[in-house]
């Protein structure tokens, strides 16, 4: 212990000054994070050095606890001697004076009163006076450790979650199933197989009369090895947990469906317009039997230029031409005016004499799910309960020690009352006043003269 006390590093690590400095740094860096967050995402909070601050704070907390715990334990084990005289030297001593009573009788009467209401009653009689000691709230000495332990629980839960858990998202179009999700870690994204499939039967949105959304609901099925094991409706605030993975309703939208309507302009026949409808993977004849068109791909967002479809046109001679058709061609033209001439792959007029464009891509609603697994969350929630219990005990209970002296004073019996608490002296005073009042009531019975 002695070398610990002189070790300058230990002295720094155990100081509350360091705690205050670290708390301030953490606060300032967090503030900076909220200001730059708009540009850079929540990156700062996942950076190594932000974690270092939290690590140092936890370390400081642990060292402080190790440093102080033995003293607390000593206090906890110690029962003060009942015959102290110093505690009774108060400015306004609390006393009761009784005449014509027996010291023994008063003493045993008071003992009987104290028993059951207080703990650790200790009695000492030195011939001249009887000394009683009792107390309450001894366990309150540990309450601050409970608070600090709870912080460590929460941080441990966070670490477990970030190592063994994941957080991601997935969009499931109506009528489709997925078996993998996109996992996000900071700014990084990766794919992750689930080991089972999730099927979205339907996605509903309900509205209030004024048009604000009332309910988002996905009717999901969970499929393992081709068999539907669980069916359920997923709502906001009502997640569904399946095989350790929890699904949350988080967004919705539409994706292009399988059907597409293509407008064909015949440049030779005075811009004659024809519409043909085709399905993904299926073929349709071009006007005047001038070839056959097949939709071979439909993309939701191709090259970041919005919905697009890949059509393959087979000429009557058997020659194939592939063209990407963009739905938002007019808007793209505004930014990249020459884009459709650059490559024949993007040129909608490359197959003479026609010019192709997408008139409509059918859309299918999808549900956007947040998907997470967090094995650390139990620790965090236990930490939450501990911190509340710890704070309540820390602030609203204290170790209160009471001394009572029953002495003979010129034929009368004088009862003196004193007390000490490790915190909240105002509450201690109130307790002593209450005890005095109650002792007066109790001893009133033995006052034949009053």
């Amino acid at each position: 212990m002695t070398d610990k006390k002189t070790n300058p590093l230990w002295n720094i690590l155990r100081s509350v000054k360091l705690t205050l400095i670290l708390l301030s740094i953490l606060a300032v860096v967090s503030i900076i994070g909220t200001i730059i967050q708009q540009q850079e995402g929540a990156g700062i909070y996942h950076s190594i050095w932000f974690r270092m601050i939290i690590f140092f704070l936890s370390f400081n907390l642990i060292v402080c606890s190790i440093d102080r715990f033995p003293a607390t334990l000593k206090l906890f084990r110690l029962t003060p001697s009942p015959d102290r005289s110093k505690v009774f030297e108060e400015d306004a001593p609390r006393t009761i004076l009784l005449s014509n009573v027996d010291v023994e009788q008063v003493s045993s009467g008071i003992q009987e009163y104290l028993r059951g209401r207080f703990r650790n009653l200790v009695i000492k009689d030195n011939g001249n006076a009887a000394f009683l000691y009792c107390e309450k709230g001894r366990f309150s000495l540990f309450s601050v450790y409970l608070v600090h332990l709870s912080v460590l629980f929460i941080l441990t839960g966070a670490i477990i979650g970030s190592i063994f858990g994941f957080n991601g998202y997935v969009n499931i179009p109506e009528g489709e199933a997925i078996d993998s999700i996109t996992v996000t870690k900071g700014a990084l994204e990766s794919h992750k197989g689930l080991g089972f499939s999730v099927y979205c039967e339907k996605f509903h949105v309900d509205y209030y009369d004024n048009g604000t959304p009332k309910e988002y609901r996905s009717d999901l099925g969970f499929i393992v090895n081709g068999k539907e094991v669980l069916k359920g409706s997923l709502l906001v605030n009502h997640p569904i947990k399946f095989m350790g993975v929890t699904f949350y309703q988080s967004s919705y939208g539409t994706v292009p469906g399988d059907k597409i309507r293509i407008k064909i302009i015949n440049d030779e026949k005075g811009a004659e317009e024809t519409m043909i409808e085709a399905e993904l993977g299926k073929s349709a004849m071009l006007p005047d039997n001038k070839g056959e068109l097949t939709i071979s791909d439909i993309r939701d967002n191709f090259m970041n230029l919005g919905p697009a479809a890949l059509v393959v046109i087979k000429s009557p001679e058997g020659e194939a031409t592939s063209i990407w058709l963009f739905k938002d061609r007019d808007t793209i033209m505004k930014s990249y005016s020459d884009m459709f001439e650059l490559s024949p792959k993007f040129n909608p007029s490359v197959y003479k004499p026609f010019t192709f464009s997408i008139d409509d891509i059918g859309s299918v609603p999808y549900t956007g799910l947040q998907v997470a697994r967090d094995p650390g969350v139990q620790f965090v929630f236990i930490g939450f309960i501990m911190i509340i219990a710890g704070l309540v005990l820390t602030f609203f209970t204290s170790h209160r020690k009471f001394w009572i002296r029953i002495a003979d004073e010129k034929g009368d019996v004088k009862i003196s009352l004193a007390g000490m608490a490790n915190k909240n002296p105002v509450g201690m005073d109130r307790d002593l006043d209450r005890l005095l009042l109650n002792l007066k009531k109790t001893t009133g019975k033995w006052r034949p003269n009053d």
Binding site: L20, A27, Y208, T212, H238, P239, Q370, A372, V377
Partner: protein
């Protein structure tokens, strides 16, 4: 709607409360203290009725929910919490001078809710994310916590003015303010209550976020600022309980803490946030 009319009248009552407490402090005449207390109790009774009406009206509209769901309703509840807590403090301390420093905060909050053009006072239905029992628990704990910090802030301002008192002073104003030690202790008690409630508020919000989005903490600006506020008051408590800070320094910290509360409440709306009241 009748509730917004009632609540806008309560704004004026709170202004008169403030005036009455102020006149009490300036003149030292107890009569004004009695008037102030009666006005405050009348005000909070009307305030409670206004909130109750709003609650009932939401059910009549078929979108029933506790009136704790948007900026308007939160300001109304914040103001109500401040006054309720203040009445308890006045009852316990039997000192009315604190009212002059606290009622203006309740007045300002209500005035902002009632008379700002930016604040929609209509009863809105709850969007899916807000349809949770955690909403009520989260808002009540947070705003009672904020109210306790507001009281501590008021007491800290009183502490600074009391510090200018000289031993031979005959200033009625300063004479009526409680002694430095009493202010210090009261302010500390408010911080303790506020800290406990803020902790509960953060926790309820966190548990709610976990069931709504699958993440109990996502460093959203409002979350982060609530953590900053928590850290400021945590520092104050450590400094006081372990390093024995008393008086001026805790008072300064309490002011800084309350500024953080205000930023958490209002300032964050200028940063992008899940909590930006109109999602």
């Amino acid at each position: 709607m009748i509730n917004t009319v009632i609540l806008s009248y309560i704004t004026f009552i709170y202004f008169f409360c403030f005036l009455a407490y102020l006149i009490l402090l300036v003149t030292g005449r107890q009569m004004f203290g009695r008037i102030a207390t009666i006005l405050t109790i009348t005000g909070v009774a009307g305030h409670t009725i206004g909130i109750g009406f709003r609650w009932v009206e939401s059910y009549k509209l078929g979108i029933g929910h506790a009136p704790l769901s948007n900026l308007y309703e939160s300001l109304i509840f914040f103001s109500w919490s401040i006054i309720m807590l203040y009445i308890l403090v006045e009852k316990r301390t039997r000192n009315k001078s604190i009212g002059a420093f606290v009622t203006p905060l309740a007045f300002l909050s209500l005035a902002y809710a009632s008379f700002s053009d930016n604040i929609k006072d209509g009863i809105q239905p709850l969007v899916p994310a807000l349809q949770s029992n955690w909403l009520t628990a989260h808002v009540i704990t947070c705003f009672f916590g904020y109210a306790a910090f507001a009281l501590s802030f008021g007491m800290s301002l009183m502490y600074f003015s009391k510090m200018s008192e000289t031993p031979d002073n005959n200033n009625v104003f300063l004479n009526l303010i409680p002694g430095l030690n009493v202010l210090d202790e009261l302010s500390y008690q408010m911080v303790v209550i506020g800290f406990l409630l803020l902790t509960l508020g953060i926790i309820t919000g966190s548990v709610w976020a976990h069931s709504a989005w699958g993440s109990y903490w996502s460093w959203d600006p409002k979350e982060t600022w609530s953590l900053v506020t928590w850290l400021v008051y945590a520092s104050l408590l450590h400094a006081r309980l372990i390093r024995g800070w008393k008086g001026k320094r805790p008072a300064i910290f309490s002011v800084i803490g309350f500024l953080c509360v205000l930023f958490t409440y209002f300032g964050v709306n200028y940063l992008s946030s899940l909590h930006s009241y109109d999602f």
